[in-house]
């Protein structure tokens, strides 16, 4: 757990430094994701990494973080108690933004994905 968390945080930290130094509008966590992906690629190809970096611990930490992701949104969501006034004053518009644009977003994305994958069929489709 400790090694896993250290590796994940280190990736995010480098991401934060990268975003700060380059002034690019990239979220630090997304840069961290790319770095960790690179780490997994390197780890499974080269044997010379210290044992603790090759252990399953990192995978287990990531698994836990991904599995419990929904919980992590609760504290920010509870912030609604702080903005009840502004939400009440614009209730219809905000509801429309939350419900209607999300439905549009899902619909447009799913149809585009399906449409394009028919034009560019995956080579050797092996759907699970």
């Amino acid at each position: 757990m400790v090694v896993g968390l250290a590796v994940v945080l280190l990736c995010q930290l480098i991401g934060e430094i990268f975003a700060y130094v380059t002034h690019l509008p990239v979220p630090a966590a997304v840069v961290g994701l790319v770095l960790l992906f690179g780490f997994f690629l390197v780890r499974d190809r080269w044997e010379w990494l210290p044992f603790s970096l090759r252990s399953e611990e990192i995978d287990k930490t990531c698994e836990t973080l991904v599995q419990q992701m929904a919980l992590l949104f609760v504290p920010a969501g509870v912030g609604i108690v702080q903005r009840l006034g502004i939400l009440q004053a614009n209730v219809l518009g905000i509801l429309a933004i939350i419900v209607v644009t999300t439905a549009i977003s899902i619909t447009v994305t799913a149809f585009t994905f399906r449409f394009v994958s028919r034009w560019f069929p995956a080579p050797t489709e092996s759907q699970e």
Binding site: T102, I106, T107, F111, V116
Partner: protein, 239 residues
């Protein structure tokens, strides 16, 4: 009586109580959701948010006091986004084979999301502050709050709209995609992850690992895309 009051004052100001409340309420909500076979309406985030909200209002606890305790959980949003590298790595071959639809659906979906927010705001004549704070609504909380701040939005309002969007997406995704007759798990996952970030991705992982992976891919890519597109959209509205 005064001993009880003293104890309450002692506990309610500290991190321990609110961290515990968050975990206990979420655990119960999650167990109930499992009991009803993960019915989308039993979304654990949705029910945890209102239950904790009611507890705060009833006990007269300021949100800031609550958040200081719950911050330990909130902080993990960033690391959990980084951790999405694992399912992405494990499924890299499937993902690489779908690269063209991924890139095009990302571009079209992200533009459609931001465009529909601007259209909605115009129809309902929303104040510019709400519109700007809503632009990054499909990006994951941590990312969206940062974007909102950088374009002069209200980061707390953004967080609420983001979480509400995630819940709405997680609740409507399965019935909506069934209605649209989208059967491809990759397309279903990608759409949910793009529109409803981490809450949608958590929901997608409940349905199928492949759906979840594509949701995670969409969520991280859309975090990036939203960070690029929202400043452009905000400058269009502003000017």
């Amino acid at each position: 009586m005064s001993a009880t009051q003293g104890l309450w004052a002692h506990l309610s100001g500290g991190a321990l109580l609110w961290l515990t409340v968050t975990l206990v309420v979420y655990s119960i909500a999650d167990r109930l959701s499992l009991l009803v076979q993960r019915n989308p309406l039993a979304n654990p985030v949705l029910h945890s948010v209102w239950v904790i909200g009611v507890i705060l209002v009833a006990s007269g606890t300021p949100y800031k006091t609550y958040f200081d305790g719950a911050y330990f959980i909130h902080f993990l949003l960033g690391p959990s986004t980084v951790a999405l590298a694992l399912p992405l790595y494990e499924n890299r071959r499937v993902v690489m084979r779908s690269l063209v639809p991924i890139v095009i659906a990302l571009l079209v979906g992200s533009v459609a999301t931001i465009g529909s927010v601007i259209a909605c705001a115009a129809i309902f004549n929303l104040p510019a502050m709400i519109t700007i704070s809503s632009l990054p609504k499909s990006a994951t909380s941590g990312v969206a709050m940062g974007i909102s701040q950088s374009v002069g939005g209200d980061a707390s309002l953004t967080a609420i709209i983001v979480v509400a969007t995630g819940i709405a997406g997680a609740v409507m995704a399965t019935p909506l995609l069934n209605l649209l007759r989208i059967e491809d798990r990759r397309a279903r996952g990608f759409a949910v992850g793009l529109a409803a970030h981490g809450v949608g991705t958590a929901r997608a992982f409940q349905v199928h690992p492949l759906t979840g992976t594509f949701a995670g891919v969409a969520m991280s890519l859309n975090g990036l895309m939203t960070a690029v597109l929202v400043p452009l959209a905000a400058s269009l509205i502003g000017g």
